[in-house]
Every structure is written in C-alpha cells, then in structure tokens.
C-alpha cells in the first residue's frame, strides 16, 4: 500500500499522502501504547470495561487490554484503610470549627442528649459495587458518605436503647462492638461495596449546657467515697482501741485470778504448815494462838470490866 502510493508520478499528492499514512499509523501506535498497557499497583484492583460493560477484574501487575475505544481499565484502591468521621467533619476540624449540635448530639434511651464523635475505619471490599452501584454525584451520594449516613442510623438506633450513664460510661465498648456488624449488614444490603474494619468512639460527653451538673454527679460520687472512707477510718481507729481495751480487761481478770489462786495457795500452805506444825500438840497450839489474839485485842481498845452476878446477863443499855 505504501510502495505504490509513493511511486505514483503526480508529485503533489505524494508527500501529503505519505504523511497522512504515517500520522494514522502513529495514532494507532499511540492508542495502543496509552490505552492497552496499564500498570495496576499492588494496592489496587483493575476493572476491565468493554464498551462500558464490566467484563473482568484484574489484579496487580502489568495488564493488557484491547485499545480504546473497545476496552478501558478502571483502577480502584482496595487495601488502604480509610477513615470516615461521624458526628463531625474533618474539614471543620482542620479549620478549628466546632461541629454543630445537629452533627454532634445523639438521643439516648432515657431521652437525654449526649455528644459523641465516632470514626469508622473501612476499606473498599468490592470495587465493582463501589464504583458502579452507588451514585457519586455529590457528597451525599458517594458510597463514603452513604456510609456516614448508615453509620449514623446504626449509632442512633444503638444509643436510643441505652441509658445516658451507660453511653457515657461502660456502654461505649458495647456500642463499638455492636455497631461494626450492624453497619456491615446495612452496607451489604445497600451494596456500597465497603468493608468495615472498625468503629471507634473518639469522644463521648454530656452537652456543654449540662456538663457542670454531670461533673457534680462525679464529685458527688467522689464525696460518697470520701464519706465512706472517713467512716472506715473512724472504725479503723476505734476497733483496734477496743481490742486493746478488751485485752486489757481480760488480762486484768487473769491477774485477778492469779492473785486469788496464789493468795489461796499461800493461805493453804500456811494452814498446812500450821497443821503440820501443830501435829501432836494441837491443844496447846490452839490455846497459844487464842491467848496471843486475846492479848492483841485487849491491848488495842479500851477495856471496861463489868461486875456481874451469876445468872444476870449483860445489857448494852447499861453501859451507855
């Protein structure tokens, strides 16, 4: 084709014809180079579209497809974990604008209001659904933002079943645990093509208007602990003293017992000695003892001797 065209005599046509052919060939080569050879990165997956119709998926590496306009390749990042803020937006946060109450506030089961910031970590699980099943015309439609709404729906449902103290306290972990599978279920139902990695509650607090009241509850709880600790202190102080006192009482009793018995033993020993000593001379011993005693007694008080006839008895009145 090239040969005959160049050998034709009318010189005026020759050169433009050759150029034209060259240009056409160049176009085909460029088309081939730019539209049929693609490199898919290791973090990506490729989707091959033939006249717009999805025909096959391809993994990382160099991929060949038919040239445009027959086939095109779309790449989609699938391994990178992304983050979706719920309850605030990243743009606002970067600019330092606090989130609006509508974004931040959630209604609890006991109709209290809490402020909660959550972050959903996810990655693209199904590139086909991600790219083609959900519109991405504006913010609200993109699968990522659909995810935000789905997450909000699940969190609203979960928080609406819990008490405010629970949400602010131990319930946070349960929300995180329960939210992930439920968000995943909804995402699958809506065919967003996303895979939820984790749900993290970043911040959970009572609204500013009632914060002081909530803080007061915490300090009341602390007060309660303090009062109880004080009372414990009192009892810690009292009981050892009481035990000491009880020991004292007991040991005094022991002492008294010891005294009693040793006293008795002493007396018993004296008596025994007396009995032993008096053995055989009982009469005289008793007489001597009597006399000694009478002597002692008479030497002590005043003695009045009263004459008495036989048969008369002594009457006290007469002495007076």
């Amino acid at each position: 084709m090239n040969g005959p065209a160049s050998t034709r005599p009318p010189g005026g046509w020759k050169i433009p014809g050759r150029y034209l052919l060259g240009a056409l060939l160049l176009l085909v080569v460029v088309d081939l180079a730019f539209t049929s050879v693609h490199v898919v990165e290791s973090s990506e997956q490729g989707l091959v579209l033939r006249f717009g119709q999805h025909v096959r998926m391809c993994g990382p590496g160099m991929q060949l497809v038919l040239p445009w306009p027959v086939e095109t390749l779309r790449k989609c990042e699938t391994t990178q974990v992304r983050s979706m803020p719920v309850g605030f937006t990243l743009i606002d946060e970067q600019r330092g604008i606090p989130p609006s109450p509508e974004e931040l506030q959630w209604l609890t089961g006991d109709t209290n209001i809490v402020e909660m910031k959550t972050e959903i970590q996810y990655l693209v699980g199904d590139p086909y659904r991600y790219l083609f099943r959900v519109a991405e015309v504006d913010e609200g439609d993109h699968p990522r933002f659909a995810l935000r709404k789905v997450a909000e729906a699940v969190l609203t449902d979960l928080v609406a079943c819990m008490e405010v103290d629970d949400v602010l306290g131990a319930g946070k972990v349960r929300i995180q645990e329960a939210a992930r599978p439920r968000i995943q279920d909804l995402v699958d139902e809506l065919e967003l093509g996303l895979q939820i990695v984790s749900v993290n509650i970043l911040d959970c607090s009572p609204p500013l208007a009632v914060k002081s009241a909530f803080n007061d509850v915490s300090s009341a709880r602390a007060d309660r602990e303090r009062l109880m600790a004080e009372a414990e202190g009192f009892s810690m102080d009292l009981l050892p003293r009481a035990r000491a006192r009880a020991d004292w009482i007991r040991s005094e009793a022991e002492i008294a017992r010891g005294e009693k018995t040793s006293h008795a033993l002493g007396r018993a020993r004296t008596f025994r000695q007396l009995v032993e000593g008096a053995a055989g001379h009982r009469e005289i011993t008793m007489r001597r003892l009597w006399l000694e005693k009478v002597e002692q007694i008479l030497s002590r008080g005043r003695v009045v001797v009263y004459p008495r006839e036989d048969g008369h008895r002594f009457r006290l009145t007469e002495v007076k």
């Binding site: 717009g52 119709q53 659909a146 609203t156 009241a213 309660r224 003892l289 005693k293 007694i297």
Partner: protein, 303 residues
C-alpha cells in the same frame, strides 16, 4: 490518492458508527427513542445499536441517597421530636421515570415529600418510646416502623415515578431547639437528684460503718467483760478448791483460826471492850492461880 480515500473511508465509517452505535455504561440505563417516542430500553451495559434517526436517553441506574433536612414530628404521646431520616432510591422503571419526571432534582423533591408525609403519618401513631427506650439491644419497633415507611414510600414512588425505595433509615433523632432547653433543664434536675442521692447514700453508708464499728467495739468490750467474769469466777473457784483442800485437813482448827481472825477484825482502836469481871482470864489479876483453867472460857469475850 489512496491515502485520501482511506481517510475519507475512516471518517465515513466513524460517522456511521457514531450514528448507529452507542455505549451503555455500567451505571446507566439507555432508552432508545424514535422521533421522540420511547422505542426500547436497554438495561445491559455494553455496545448498543440504533438507527440514525433514533436518539438515546441515558438514565442513571445507581443507588442514590436522599438526605432531606430534619423535620419535626409529633408522636402519638404528643412529644415533639426532630427526625432526620434518609432514604436510598434507585430507578426501577426508566421509562416511567423519564416520562413522569424532568430530572433528578425534581425526583428528589418528590421523594422528600413522600418521605416526610409517610414518616410523619407513621410516627404519629407511635409513642416516643417506640423509637427511644432503654431496653435490650436493637428495638424491634424501630425496625417495624421503618419497614412500614419503606414499604409505603416504595409503593408510592414505584407507581408514580418508577422509582424503587430500598430503605428508609432514621439518621438522627433529636429535640427541636425550643424544646432542647427544657430537656437540658430536665437532665440537670436528674443529675442533681443523682448527685444528692450519691451524697446521702454516702452519709448513710458512713453512718452504717460507724454504727457497725461502734457495735463491734461494744461487742468486743462485752465479750472481754464476760470472759473476765469467767476468769475471775474460775479463779475464785480455784481458790475455794485450794482452800477447801487445805482446810479439809483440819476443819476445826480452821474454824478456830477464822473466828479469831474475825474477832480481830471487829475490834479496832476506838472499840471499847466490856468484859464481865468473872471472865476467867481476869482471874490471873486477882489471885495467883497457877493451874488457871481458861480453856473453858475461850469464847467469853464480848463487845
């Protein structure tokens, strides 16, 4: 010359392809219209063919999310709440959609109206507790309500606009601004109540601890006293036993000694002893009497 022929051929073929073939993306439906009349609809992505006189209308087949602004709803127990819900929709019947609506903005406006009215009507027949209540895990009533709303919204949208409503979800619940202050006041009052409860409970517990300590103290002392009495009693008993044992050797002598002791104790320095003059011991003062018999008068002393 050949090259030019080729170029012209390419242009001609290109033009023919442009007029007779079209590409349908994965994200679209295509409707082929002939002289303005819908002729056929293509729901499969790929290459489509048509006559040059035909035109192609493309319709987005992807799912859309509609998130209208929150609206106030009155529940059956006359509670005013702010409900922010969203619905997901997609075009089910492209022909009907194209015929009945001028575009997506209009579709969304209609859907928003449907959502608002259905949601309002449904929630008006439920109390607030159907949505918000402290109970176990997910409240089934919320799902029932949403299922009902989805069903009815879907019915209306499908019939009028060829649109499928796949789900309706409540994105956020809240109170209207004018009620919010009241809610905050209530929350505050509730917190104050709890704070007071904590404090008085603290006092109660503290008093209990003190009372218990006091009681334990008394118990310890009482127990000690009781033991002390026992110990003392045992001592007493032991002493008695010891003495009895000893005195048993000669009870008479003991009696004698004890009498003497008692006598000694009764007489002190201020006592006056009145003694009858015929007391045997005094006889020794009268007459030297060597074989004095005091023995028979040993108990004669008197006060």
């Amino acid at each position: 010359m050949r090259a030019w022929t080729l170029l012209i051929l390419i242009v001609l073929v290109g033009g023919a392809v442009k007029l007779c073939a079209f590409q349908v993306e994965e994200t679209e439906f295509a409707i082929v219209t002939r002289f303005g009349n819908p002729h056929r609809e293509i729901s499969r992505a790929g290459l489509g063919l048509k006559l040059p006189v035909d035109a192609v209308v493309k319709v987005d087949r992807r799912m859309h999310v509609l998130d209208p602004p929150a609206s106030e709803v009155l529940t059956s127990d006359k509670k005013n709440i702010l409900v922010n819900c969203f619905l997901t929709w997609s075009i089910e019947d492209p022909l009907r959609y194209v015929m009945s609506l001028p575009g997506r903005v209009a579709a969304e406006a209609r859907l928003a109206d449907i959502l608002k009215s259905e949601m309002g009507a449904e929630l008006a027949s439920h109390p607030l507790t159907a949505l918000v209540s402290v109970g176990d895990a997910a409240s089934p009533t919320m799902d029932e309500i949403l299922g009902e709303v989805t069903l009815r919204a879907d019915g209306r949208a499908r019939e009028s606009f060829g649109i499928r409503v796949s789900s309706v979800r409540i994105k956020r619940l809240g109170f209207p601004p004018q009620n919010k202050q009241a809610v905050f006041r209530r929350m505050e009052a509730e917190r104050q109540r709890i704070a007071r409860l904590h404090r008085s409970e603290g006092e109660e517990e503290a008093e209990k601890i003190r009372a218990r300590a006091n009681r334990e103290q008394a118990e310890l002392i009482n127990e000690a006293n009781r033991e002390s009495q026992e110990i003392r009693g045992a001592g007493e008993a032991e002493a008695i036993r010891i003495l009895n044992e000893a005195h048993g050797l000669d009870p008479e002598l003991y009696g004698f000694l004890r009498s003497l002791e008692a006598l000694e104790k009764t007489v002190n320095d201020t006592s006056t002893l009145v003694i009858p003059s015929d007391w045997k011991l005094l006889d020794i003062l009268k007459t030297p009497h060597l074989e004095g018999e005091a023995k028979s008068d040993k108990g004669g002393a008197d006060r």
